[in-house]
Amino acid sequence: MAFLGLILLNPITAVGGGVDELQATLSDKYRTDLIGFVETRAGARLQDDPYQKDASLGEVRLQVDLNSDLDFGVLKLKSDLLGDLVTEEAIVELRELNLLFFPHDMIDVKVGRQVLTWGTGDLLFVNDLFPKDWESFFIGRDVEYLKAPSDALKTSVFMDLFNLDLIYVPRFNGSEYIDGSRISYWNGLLGRTAGRDFIFVDDERNKAFEEDEVHARLNKNVGGLELDGYGYYGYWKTPEGVKPAGPKLFYPGLAVIGASARNSIWGGIGNLEIGYYDSYEDRKGTDPLVRNSEIRFLAGFVRELARNFTGGFQYYLEYMQDYDEYEQTADPATAKDEYRHVTTVRLTRLLMNQTLTLSLFAYYSPSDEDGYLRPKFHYKVTDRLAVDGGINWFFGAEDHTFFGQFEDASNIYAGIRWNY
């Protein structure tokens, strides 16, 4: 544990330029890897939002990532120190603090704060019910920050027939959703767009071992064909329910069962994924204040179009159950469709010995008539220094649709990062 003292010294040493020596000492004496970065990012809105500041992003971040190789496992600590000029606060964000160990040849266990991902979608999620940070994603932080950590116990069992992952989260971890504090959103209660004038509060589910989550996955690779089955029992990750008193948002119960397949096909990679979302607090769909059950479906294909140029396409469907019941209480002007179709396109071009990446990710929903474009560049000036920038552009015919509501949040951003 001697390295803990060194962690505290690290930011100071980093500034002093002795990082290489510190890394070597930690590695040789304590079998501990130290890496991380310092970065600054800034972003501005492309149009006025009466409810928000003009600056969408302005921050300085230091990340420290330590991995200590113990005889029986690996101890990991990853933490960010963030100075946020938009919210005017300085915070320590503990991204990961976990212990990975191997109690048996067939079993891996990871306990503590960790980032978890599974499923086959590209920036679309069906069976990945782990917390996301949509705000970070929308304002132009590194895509790393789309995934929020979970405080979890993950047990993986590897058998000949299949592999099993079982994850227990004793206290529900919700997603960072758009609450109005930085990005304006469609407020159904007010019947208009709202922002900092109406920051939503939610009823946190924070009773440990009572308000918990269970995630499970069965996985099998049959000669390159990856087959997965998934299960989830917990709550909607975004507050899909409203309590009239307050009014306050809350996280209704949710159970999900699903499956996916992925393989190489037609010179590229194809994937299919399906999930049934059982919104079990409103199974009949009669409660207008709780989101109905849904079937979600995803099909994707990605392949190289030319040397260093890759293209991907996805089709995604959300099919609402008990739509008749929903329609009885929903406001016809802003009601959701029974079928929400979303398509995505990803184009990635690598240039200059793969040091320059130009990419475009586009969401478009023909049913909502809205979309979200993410053009981006990333250039590695040296092995240590990188600059990036891009645009988050939301558009839509209506103010109340999923992407359309964020129209005023469209922004341009740039960042510079020094990796150590």
């Binding site: 891996d108 980032v115 790393e144 190489s264 190289e304």
Partner: protein
């Protein structure tokens, strides 16, 4: 699709034309040389481990470094193989893992693990002649080009080398028109390779700078790939190479993508 068919058709015509030629007689010997070279370069032992350091220099003289640990396991000599590449440097890709199940006669299966997202990504692998991690080596240079993909011709036999000219059977799928390899007569290691572009001029050149005998296997421990057009080059150094270390096949699976095995850590 139409393009692919056209290319296959041309390749067939090509094959039909050459089979009737005089090369039929020379074939057994040249095939033996090529097979032996393939085994010496890519299939030494049943498995292996190496610390690889790549120094990439671009046309302007700027350098970048890559350091990774590479594991290999042969399922069948001259046939299917598995590769596991664990990145150590630069730090922004540290702990990234790249996994390949190499197949013969069909596309390889490739995965990449991005540690910061805990994401196992499947990679479209139709074109093996793209840069490996930004270096001047291609994926195919690292994992080997299928012997059956080219026609081989022994153009010269010197005191020390067999000089073999290789012409692609499906020229539409590659950027070269032919390449010539100098194969060491004793070790059967390819010591030099020169690639000609579609216009017939030399534009790419590989050279083995250092070879060592490791556990009885002649091994290239330093090699260079030069891009004659841009003036850039990549030097690869292989350190701590070991063979027959008894790698289990499950190391080359999703489990160890998410959690690197001890053999690649320290």
């Amino acid at each position: 699709m139409k393009r692919v068919l056209t290319f296959s058709f041309i390749a067939l015509m090509f094959l039909a034309g050459t089979l009737s030629g005089s090369e039929v007689e020379a074939a057994p010997q040249i095939e033996e040389i090529v097979d032996k070279a393939n085994l010496a370069a890519y299939y030494a032992g049943d498995d292996g481990r190496s610390d690889v350091k790549m120094t990439i220099t671009d046309g302007q003289g700027r350098t970048r470094n890559r350091e990774f640990v590479m594991l290999r396991k042969d399922i069948k000599d001259g046939g299917e193989q598995m590769f596991y590449v664990y990145f150590e440097k630069p730090s922004d890709v540290r702990k990234m893992v790249y996994l390949v199940h190499k197949h013969i006669g069909r596309d390889d299966d490739r995965w990449m693990y991005l540690a910061k997202l805990d994401l196992v990504k499947r990679i479209a692998a139709s074109d093996k002649r793209t840069s490996f991690v930004g270096s001047h080596f291609y994926y195919e240079d690292v994992s080997g080009r299928g012997v059956e993909e080219d026609r081989h011709e022994l153009v010269e036999e010197t005191d020390s080398h067999y000089v073999v000219k290789n012409t692609p059977k499906r020229p539409g799928e590659v950027e070269f028109s032919a390449y010539t390899v100098w194969i060491d007569k004793e070790t059967f290691l390819p010591m030099k390779a020169e690639y000609l572009d579609k216009g017939g001029s030399k534009y790419r050149e590989m050279e083995a700078l250092k070879t060592e005998m490791i556990q009885g296997f002649p091994t290239v421990t330093k090699s260079q790939m030069r891009d004659l057009r841009s003036g850039g080059d990549t030097v690869s150094e292989f350190n701590n190479s070991k063979y027959n270390i008894g790698l289990e096949q499950d190391i080359f699976s999703e489990r160890y993508l998410r959690r690197p095995p001890r053999v690649v850590r320290r």
